[in-house]
Amino acid sequence: MGLLLGGLLGLVAAMPLTAQQTGQVAGTVVDAATMRPLEGAQIVLQGTQMGALSNADGRYSIRGVPSGDYTVVARLIGFGQGTAPVTVQVGQTATADFELSEEALAMEEIVVTGEAGAARRKEVGNAISQVDVSQIDQSPVNVESLMQSQAPGLVISETAGSAGSGSTIRLRGNTSVTQGNQPLIYVDGVRIRSEAYPKNVPPVGYSGRSANVTASPLNDINPADIDRIEIIKGAAATTLYGTEASAGVIQIFTQRGTSAAPSYTLQLDQSMDHVLAFGPDPSDFPAEFRDEVEAKSHFGMDPWLRNSLGTKGTLSVRGGLQDLSYFFSGTAEVDQSPMPNDETDAGGVRGNFGWDAASNLHVQWNTSYNKRSIQQTPSGNNAHGLTLQVYRGDRNYVGSQEKAVIDSILDYDIDNTIDHLVTGLTTQYQPTTDISHRFTVGYDRASTEGRQVRPFGFILAPQGIMSNTVFTNETLTLDYAGSFAFDLSDAFRTTLSTGGQYIIDNQRTVTGYSQDFGGPGLPTLESGGLTLSYEDRIREDNAGFFFQNRLGFRDRVFLTGGVRFDGNSSFGEGITWDALEVYPKASLSYVISDEDFWPDELGSVKLRGAWGMAGRAPGAFDKVRTWDPLGGRLGQQPGFIPQNLGNPNLRPEKTQEIELGADMGLLNDRLSAEFTWYRARTYDALLPVSSVPSLGGWQNQIQNVGELLNRGVELSLNGQVVRNRDWQWDLGGSLSTNFAEVTDLGEATSFAVNDANEYIIEGHPVPVVLGWRVTNPDEVGEPIFARDTLGANQPQWVIQPRTRLRVPGGIVLQALGEFQLDYYIHDGSTENGIVRSVRWPTCIDVNAAIDAGNGDQLTALERARCIESSTRAGFFIHDASFFKLRNLSARLPLDGLLRNVYSGIGSASLTLSARNALRWIKDMPVFDPEMAGNYGSASEGSVNVDDEGDNNLGRSLSEHIPPPATFTATFRVSFQ
């Protein structure tokens, strides 16, 4: 490591530093249609690394430009590229103003993710989505909500209304059964931890003694720091990331400085969370029961739920000095959540520095540090939790429904502290316009302290219990990419690229446990009569290199071929030359509308197709036969019990994907359309193959035996219905499908995942929900059950409609919705209540009939859904299709008003937004489909496919509250 850093420093030192007399380039960037200033446009001097960003007024300046002739290029997502020639003279300012036109297909737009270096969008043969943060008016709660519903094929499912709960992110569905499906996350070229932080739970006993939600490292990033996000979804696009990338890649680019005078931005958010009603719908009941049902609007949780407030402030400054540019930001947040103990206190700082060491050498150093402190209320399937006590009514574990008694549960403290440092140094060197080098060294340190205390005298553990888990994940990224482009002829141009990555991932977990305190007081781990300690350390290395060639023909046809070679320490043979995995790729992009024969009235069209492979490595210990050292876990006697059978022949599972699509700009670029069809086959899928119990009772052996198939389409349409200086109405949306199927289990047999209602069965979705149906629902008598596969556990259809309306005065209204359709989910909360004979609110009419002595007149369906002895586990499964209005916002410009007060105001606005404020649920009779929580481990009898928390293959509901509706007022002002 030291050698590498030394080498890097040597490299920088080797660069020529030319000191010349300079001038500057400056100008403005506006929307050609409306003449409104465009903020965030990237201005570069072609063939150099020098550039700037336009500010809120659309102004930019590039200082320290050596005298000479240049071509200035202006780019902004969603707009066509602008170019202007300038001549820079010493001590003078050359002006280049731009009027950019919105362009349905931004062919010249530069994309980075998945490419060897960078590429123009027209050259890329696979689908790539960009989220331009400047176009989102709503102040997002976090990065996950920022991305939600912003790209077809991206499904972000919320998990609960608890503080700190992260979402489940899927790109084109599940492509792995055992190795997780969370996409890789990069921030400014540095890989950060993708998986959720470990759940805060004691190391011994039931794994649900927790709030049963997990926080996402992605949400440590301050959304206000983000410039744009690039998302690539399948193996055809992620090949150059190799072994870990089959679930897709999300890359976040944070804001950079400019070479202009300092510009400040202040953003203040005041929010309120409100839990929408849940519980049975009164209109489903006869009139005499409606009042009683209505009284259960939050399932009895009303006394504990609150309209919680949150306050957040972010101040940033962007500017530059000669060859240096900088972006600083700081943020602070206090955010309550609806549950009584829930609160998040967060803060963070960021410093992004750019240095134009020479006109062809740019060094960028970005660093952020964020800290979050999250207090949570015990919830989920936790018999020591608040929600479970309330939902279980007279059958709860505290033996009372009195608020004062249940309040004693709130003595249970669950505290999480997250520290997250991301730093990365990227050197971009362009010795000529045709040659480029980029080298990144990055370091991500994500750590948590999960502490929880049930104090002495706690109602359900009178002697007291506490635990403390300190988890640290360090990821070191070394990444090089180099390109050399040259013309083969007038028509052909080729770009050769090569590069490599080395990723070292280190995880350390140290856990202490203590119980039986001597008396009241604030305990530490040493306070208990019994103390236990645990430690896990896992390092995983991945090294790879690639070659790629892109052949362009007349700047409209681009054929790309590449191959990546990977070694990984978890492969059976470790990282050796003999064990390198090969991931090839090929793609074709054809801008057919550039052909002479193409009628202009048909608009611009790019046809594209891509084929490629990516992988997923096995777990760090999967290859080795190991025994669990018991330590003190049989009294005080150390010992060994079987743990992992091991498989020395393990290789990564590989996903091979083909996608075909077209990008179209129609009706004079007023309508953009993107269509993609994809088909991904995961072979050598890592599946748990049950060993023969009589051969030793090793539970499962991971083997490369399975095959999965993912297929679907993605369609995105965005149109400008009205567009003039005063009015603009955009209407659009996206539709995506994903049908995942287990096509071959190999030697493995069908098995359950998560709560044992979601299964991996050949010929069915990944996973499929297996449950019981009543075959005689209307018959008076006992139910007859039949077990059947009911459907996919992940949404198979996602529709994201959107609209944006700008009215005179610059007021902008936005609405963004999301349908997640055609999937099934198990309502474990209701099942847990019914099988405990809880008088469940959905059974008010049935219980009334029983109380009246008419129980013998109940139908089979009524008995199955309300009577303990008549129902069975796995019956409470529903079509979970739903719609939520993810965002509804109104932005009011305040520039003019505030400029009367202070002339230095650049832009100012007040945005009122509502998130998840409107909801439609198709079939769930009681709960919201987005309250599955994160359990982080499978139940007994099912395969623990992932122990990270957010990667649970299946989802089922448990005793949570749904994500609340959030109403936010955001004041944003930029000034100099």
Binding site: A14, M15, T18, F545, Q637, G639, S694, G696, Q699, G941
Partner: protein
């Protein structure tokens, strides 16, 4: 740009490219390093002499795990519920008695039996694997007198007995279905070997454990004289226990944890033969009490809230469970006498050596039928909550021995809430059938 500048920058570019390539080469070279993570112990380390004590501890832990450790589907609670040593009173999932096992269904469709079989086979395999490991890593002369070997053999014997007493058929190391007696034969072999090695090692406790174990499995194979020979050699106050610990829930004594009120109360003495018996006799071998804080179990079973009467035999999470003891040897001798028709002496032996020693009234019987009835219940009392009762019901039913079940363990009594013909052995489950080509699946 001037040509001079370009040449200068190209030269810089060349140095940069070389620097970058050097970095990449270093990264690749570094990539050749092997990554070894600490924590889990690799298999070969168990061959070290210093690991032998740990290997034996692992055997004991595996056995306890199969018998009655922690929560979930474990033989101890299954046997207790079918034979109504305990009545299901709470959660059928976590820490409780499965719904179908609670009515006596132990057929192959009950998925919980996968875990019971897997754990029991694991206990057998771990012990037998240790013997094989010791055989290959200890010199022959030392092997014959090694206390580690002796202990592994004793546990291998009890693990085979556990399988034989509870599962309907035998499968060993991937074999086809065999009669369950195969487990008893293997157990006898291990016990016999253990007696020799333990004697050479000077471990009287292990000799007694092996003799007590062998007495039982000899009896189950019909060798009652051999069983009596062994039984008579075991001191009446000798006890050999499966070990549990209060360190973490996964090693708690399951019967203790089922009665604990934080938060589950999943097994009750209510509506079992032992409820009334203890009321009548206050026999210290079957104690129970009411819980002052909780009148009922965790949840309703059989559409009623089940009164919660907690067992008091195991009052700590670390309480051991007898696998063999001198008092069971009395029972073996008494049963041998009953089978020989000497029912008066059999009952006298029970009354004098067992009941009198704990201060409870004698059984008073006047016929062989009554003697068998009393004896059968006496075994239930003496071996209460030790996962032994299922085998008694099975073998007595198969042989048609005289005597009656207690009313609240007799499925013909609707108050038991048992199905009409409960299963008294556990079918070889799907976990074996679906992975072992030599064992037919349910569909044949």
């Amino acid at each position: 740009m001037k040509n001079e500048d370009r040449r200068s920058e190209r030269a810089g570019g060349g140095r940069a490219a070389r620097g970058l390539l050097a970095l990449l080469a270093m990264a690749v070279a570094t990539a050749g390093c092997e990554v070894t993570n600490p924590g889990p112990v690799q298999d070969q380390f168990l061959n070290d002499a210093a690991a032998r004590a740990g290997v034996v501890t692992g055997i004991k832990r595996s056995f306890s795990n199969a018998l009655a450790a922690g929560c979930g589907s474990i033989l101890g609670s299954t046997v207790a519920s079918v034979t109504r040593e305990l009545f299901p009173s709470g959660n059928p999932g976590t820490c409780g008695i499965d719904t179908r096992e609670g009515v006596g269904d132990l057929s192959v469709e009950v998925e919980e039996q996968d875990f019971e079989w897997d754990d029991a086979q694991n206990a057998r395999w771990v012990a037998e694997d240790a013997i094989t490991r010791f055989d290959t890593t200890i010199e022959a002369s030392a092997f014959e007198s090694s206390p580690f070997v002796a202990e592994a053999m004793v546990w291998a014997g009890f693990a085979n007995r556990l399988l034989g007493e509870n599962f309907c058929e035998a499968v060993v190391d991937g074999s086809g279905l065999q009669p369950r007696s195969v487990f008893f034969e293997r157990a006898e072999g291990h016990f016999t070997s253990a007696i020799g090695v333990a004697s050479a090692a000077g471990r009287t406790d292990l000799v007694n454990a092996a003799r007590a174990g062998r007495a039982s499995v000899r009896a189950w194979q019909g060798d009652w004289s051999g069983a009596v020979d062994d039984a008579q050699s075991v001191p009446v106050d000798f006890e050999f226990e499966a070990e549990f610990a209060g360190v973490s829930q996964d090693q708690y004594n399951q019967f203790y944890w089922m009665r604990a009120a934080e938060p589950y109360r999943t097994g009750s003495v209510w509506n079992t033969p032992y409820e009334q018996y203890y009321t009548d006799y206050t026999d210290p071998r079957t104690p129970w009490s009411e819980d002052p804080d909780f009148e009922f179990g965790d949840l309703a079973r059989f559409d009623m809230q089940v009164p919660f009467l907690r067992q008091e035999k195991y009052t700590s999470n670390a309480a051991g469970i007898d696998l063999a003891d001198g008092r069971e040897m009395i029972l073996i001798r008494a049963e041998a006498q009953l089978r020989a028709g000497d029912w008066q002496d059999a009952i006298d032996l029970v009354n004098d050596e067992l009941r009198a020693t704990v201060g409870v009234d004698d059984w008073s019987v006047s016929s062989e039928e009554e003697a068998w009835t009393a004896f059968r219940f006496e075994r239930g009392i003496e071996l209460w909550l030790e996962a032994r009762r299922l085998w008694d019901f099975y073998r007595w039913s198969e042989e048609g021995v005289p005597g009656q079940m207690q009313s609240l363990e007799d499925p013909s009594n609707p108050d038991t809430y048992l199905q009409s013909e409960p299963d008294y052995c556990i079918s070889v489950p799907n976990s074996e059938r679906e992975t072992n080509d030599n064992v037919p699946t349910l569909s044949g």
